[in-house]
Symmetry: C2
Subunit: 148 residues, 2 copies
DNA sequence: ACAATTTGTATTGCGCACAATATAGTTGTG
DNA sequence: CACAACTATATTGTGCGCAATACAAATTGT
């Protein structure tokens, strides 16, 4: 026999966490055609966003910004290296550290990528107020969830 | 030379879409320990949520609910079959259709899963008002993004 | 000085996501 | 009935995401 309360909770769950999960995939899907034009995936684009802010960083610094570990970043960065967008070289001061830096080509890609955010923002069609609200709540949830 | 406007946009982008992408991963990470206790991944749990609502569905019906295609669902459902949680059998009426149904074991898992949503909701620590707001904005964005 | 620990990255394995393609089954039309 | 168009699922290949493990380099404690 199924408990009605359990049923309700399992539905509610579906209405809270699933939409966030689905929205994240929707956003990546919305980026896809724009990023394909410059031969990037969304995670690769995110890594470049961080590098455009600061030209040279270690793998672990990139990982802190993106909340990704070396198991994800190492192959991703090797693919960016293959495309000639970044350099990977060991630090002379500390041989354990791999420093990632932008190549000229990687730096120049920033100009081509500049039109992507406004294009995407427009397609989301949310007011500035709603957007701010969304950012605030998401930020709060992420802080709380990290305390677990 | 870097255009200041481009710079701003690329940062703003980072502050809008990245948090949603990161939050989705945070949520899956928060579920992980709870779901490991019943040997499920988050996508597998979502598939079961849908099946708990309606015992028997085709692969494509499941896909519509979850916004996932057969390339993702077929192997996922085969893993659930291996665990003895679902049955996969071709429809007699239309041999192209594969019907997924819950086994007794899969049905019973619902009771064990019932405590997961309230546990998780508590850890998010958002007010009912904020939660409603979040759902409304996400729903709106998803609708808009699907129009593209 | 040197053993124990810590740190930073790499590797492996598994499970999604998703595009592209394949294949089998079904339906509509002449 | 033939057969083209369509539908539902399966397969393949690529790229994450993350846990577990490995390993070398650096740091720490004594």
């Amino acid at each position: 026999m199924i408990n009605v309360e359990n049923n309700k909770q399992l539905q509610l769950d579906n209405q809270l966490c699933f939409p966030i999960y689905a929205l994240a995939r929707d956003i990546i899907a919305a980026y896809r055609p724009l990023l394909e034009a410059i031969d990037l995936t969304y995670p690769q684009y995110l890594a470049l966003l961080v590098l455009w802010e600061k030209q040279e960083q270690s793998v672990s610094q990139l990982g802190e910004h993106l909340d990704l570990d070396s198991g994800t970043l190492t192959p991703l960065l090797k693919r960016l290296e293959q495309k000639g967008l970044v350099n990977r070289k060991r630090s002379l001061a500390d041989e354990r550290i791999v420093l990632i830096s932008l190549t000229e080509s990687g730096s120049l890609l920033r100009t081509k990528a500049a039109n992507i955010p406004p294009t995407l923002l427009k397609s989301l069609s949310v007011s500035a107020e709603e957007l701010e609200n969304l950012q605030r709540i998401i930020c709060k949830i992420r802080k709380n969830i990290h305390k677990i």
